[in-house]
Structure formats: structure tokens, C-alpha cells
């Protein structure tokens, strides 16, 4: 794994992404963390991205209302009726 020092570098973007998604193997992770230790700005960015992921995954989920399917079935029935009338 060769890490280039530019946030615009696509391969660096891939590595950041894999690091945050925790898909790097142990050697790659070690190499990347070693690289980050000497690149303060990049390290801060990666840290923010990692925290941002954790925050977003902490979000609550929104569910459909109990009568959602009933309402949809009524709309479909209305639509079919009006087509049949035509």
C-alpha cells in the first residue's frame, strides 16, 4: 500500500475510506496510522470522518405508519378504477 500525501489523490481517498470502514488488514492499518502520525491535518480529517460515521450510524430510524399499506391499496384501487372507467 503506497500512501500519497494529498487529499485529492484518489488512492488516498480509497485508503481513508477503507480505514474508516475498518476493512484494511492489520499491516495496512498499521502503515496508514504510521503515515498519519506525521501528517497532522490529514490525521484530523480522518478522525473527523471516523467520528462522523459513528454519529450518523447512531441515528434513529423512522418507520411507516400502521395504516400505510391500507392507504396505498386505496390509492391503487382508485387508480385502477379510473383507468377501467376510461
Amino acid at each position: 500500500m503506497k500512501v500519497q500525501n494529498s487529499i485529492l489523490d484518489p488512492s488516498l481517498n480509497d485508503v481513508i475510506n477503507d480505514y474508516v470502514e475498518e476493512t484494511l488488514d492489520i499491516n495496512e492499518r498499521f502503515e496508514f496510522e504510521n503515515f498519519l502520525s506525521s501528517h497532522k491535518k490529514l490525521r484530523a480529517f480522518v478522525h473527523k470522518s471516523k467520528m462522523g460515521k459513528k454519529i450518523a450510524r447512531n441515528s434513529y430510524s423512522v418507520r411507516a405508519a400502521n395504516d400505510f399499506e391500507e392507504k396505498l391499496a386505496r390509492r391503487i384501487a382508485r387508480e385502477r378504477e379510473s383507468k377501467e372507467l376510461k
Binding site: 471516523k50 447512531n58 441515528s59 423512522v62 411507516a64 399499506e69 392507504k71 396505498l72 387508480e79
Partner: protein, 204 residues
Amino acid sequence: MNSLSKKQLRTFSDEDLMESFQAGYDEAFDILVARFKDRLHNFLYRYTHNHQDCEDLVQETFLRVYRSKHSYERVAKLSTWMYTIALNLAKSLYKKKQRMQTITIHEDETDPDDQPLKLEDTTILQDDSLHEKMCMNELEKALMQLSENFREVVILRDIQQLAYDEIAEITGLPMGTVKSRINRGRAQLQELLEHHVYPETISV
């Protein structure tokens, strides 16, 4: 064509269900609605921030699936096709609302009916759940503050937990752009919320 029972249909993959629906089994559509209704609500709510708009968009997504069932081809995952329809509808609504805002007279703060809808009930909460609720509200606000380019990929990845290749297909973006936007969107989300304490995100 052998007749299929609802029990058999329930064991089908999404794509097999869609093919059954195309072949005339309306029960297959009902099963797809049951499978996708919560996922689509969870996705579209992040665009609308309004339960009624969200429900309308989910209904419209399913109506389009119903009407255009024959335009689905198995080359794509069914979920990709559905999310693409939902995302396009959400973007149209967003644009429409933006246009409307430019001609809308400001909200009347004295009118109790002219207030933003509360997300959940307003019953008294324990300290912990109150803190959690405040955090969630801040998170929702921060998601809305992200630029549309960042918001859509962060929602698709971290809230809907879709795979990267599916996100690339839904958004029509190259994989590199998807990854870069997700990295930057997540970082921006953290910046927007850095003064809020999320128990899971405290650095050691």
C-alpha cells in the same frame, strides 16, 4: 403458469418477487411493499423532515413501481431501482419547496398551527432519554445542513447501510466520487456536531 401461494412468494428474493409481479401476481407487490416501506420511510424522512411529505413520497415511489412494473429489468438490483425512483422524487420535492420558499411570506410565529411539526410525542422524558433526544434532533439538523451532494451519500451509506457499488448506481456517480463525498460528508457532519457530546464518539 403454476399458481404460487403467498407463503411461497414470501421466500422469494426481491428480484424474483418483482418478476412474479410482472407475471401477474399482485400479492408479490404487497410483499415488496411490506419489505421496503420502513426502509424507504427511513431514507426519505432525511430529505423531507416532515412525516406527511415523507409518507407521500413513499406512496408515490410505490405507485411508480406499480405503474411501471414492466420497465424494471433484472440487470439491476430491485432495491437500487426503488432507491433511484425515491431519490429522484425527493430531489424534485426539494427543488419545488425551494422555489416555493422564495415566494412564501415568513412564518407567523404567533400562529400555533404555523409551527414546524414535532417529530415525536412531547411527553416528559427522563434525563438520559432527553439528552438522547436532543442529540438526535441535533443530528437531524446537522444532516439537513450538509450540502445535498454529501447528504445523499452519507444517508445511503450510514443510515440505509447500502453497499458502495449500489450507492454509485443510485446516484450515477463514479465510485471514487462516492468515496470522496462520503469521507468529506462524514467529516463535515462531525464538524457541525463537535460541541455535542455523543457517548460513542468521545475520543480517548
